[in-house]
Symmetry: C3
Subunit: 169 residues, 3 copies
């Protein structure tokens, strides 16, 4: 412990700040500030379609202009887990609830994850790679995001009775 | 780095604790413990109307009694970003999902932000100023909270096709 | 301050990691990795019914197989408050939004809290006791979870007018 551990905690703080800054600037549609979070050659993949993948900071900035099709958005980030894979590199997994409202008042919500790689650059930590996955979505959210992985039950598994009978609710 | 950086991380921990304590005590309607989070002369503004603004700890405590008009509430805080603006002062932005249920079973949810100023007092950090803004809300949440700022698209911006066709959902 | 404070911050980081690991592994139904979060003799109580209580790591693992009755889940954890009650023990309160989707597409969401005891073991921090409570739920979530405590208004309390008139919404 000591200096090295303190530096690690500081690195965690800086990476967490960037994760939150992405949300804040995206909801404010402050895309210049948002673009500064990324490395110049970053790769972002929201889903398997070409239109959901961007290579390079300028392309990411331009791609995220698509959020103007929503009237309001709110990105709530939590469950941050950071693992350092070298002195200047870290993997981060975090959870996101992203609420979106269309101009007609309809809404779409995604319950998802960000799987990220952060890199330490001379200017500080930057986001070098992001892949979004989707744990769940409501009917109003129709973007083709990668599904999160979920293991299936063993063959022959039978669901137990857990919920209250409807008559006692 | 060293002692100063360690003190800063400790300050961040203490401020984060207070942000969470506000939520926990508000959902429990433990208003005495809640009031102790604030400075004596704190200013809280939830919206532009007089009834949504309180000056002083006693007024805040009294004002928050209005949450008894809900049967149950749940305040989920995330996206904490703290910036120190002096040795004894910090600005904090955080995100809040606040779910409310009326006695008749109807619910209202706000997707918002807290913009706070924390001050170091002899008794520890205290919340000196809070302004809430609203990224979004559902039809059941009808309090007149300040809107969060969001930049508008440049003139002539055309929305791209992103969502899946309805036939493939 | 110094070494002791640094160790405390590191302990907080490790405990927070486990809180998030529970969510991630549960949503992935990676129950072997999930079980490793707990002590061998842990006690978990989700509600007052026998079927919602488990004693021991093996029973917890088996009990959580019930989440396979959902098609998809997403557990978003926030509001972490950790208090150390000894050199090797800590109490933690955290908030959870747990979204669940049934095979028929219906969903159930709980807005709740985890009240946990963590213990330092030779292998690191482990979760020794968990009690879940429910701040709120929607109609689709029908598990009989303990209610969170909420104080009632004083006798004669009258609700003020806060919400916008319906005509101005």
């Amino acid at each position: 412990m000591g200096e090295t551990k303190l530096e690690e905690l500081t690195d965690r703080e800086e990476i967490s700040f960037l994760l939150h800054e992405y949300c804040r600037t995206l909801d404010a549609m402050d895309l210049d500030t948002l673009a500064a979070i990324f490395t110049d050659d970053c790769i972002v993949e929201y889903g398997p379609e070409d239109r959901l993948q961007s290579h390079g900071k300028a392309a990411i900035r331009q791609g995220l202009e698509r959020l103007w099709r929503w009237k309001r958005t709110s990105h709530h980030l939590s469950n941050i887990q950071i693992r350092f894979t070298g002195a200047d590199q870290a993997n981060a997994v975090s959870y996101i609830i992203a609420w979106h409202e269309r101009p007609d008042g309809g809404t779409g919500t995604i319950w998802g994850q960000y799987h990220d790689t952060f890199l330490r650059t001379p200017a500080g930590w930057r986001l070098g790679r992001r892949r979004q996955t989707m744990n769940g979505n409501d009917a109003g959210f129709t973007v083709n995001v990668f599904p999160s992985e979920r293991r299936q039950p063993p063959a022959g598994w039978v669901a137990p009775v857990i919920d209250r009978p409807a008559t006692t609710r």
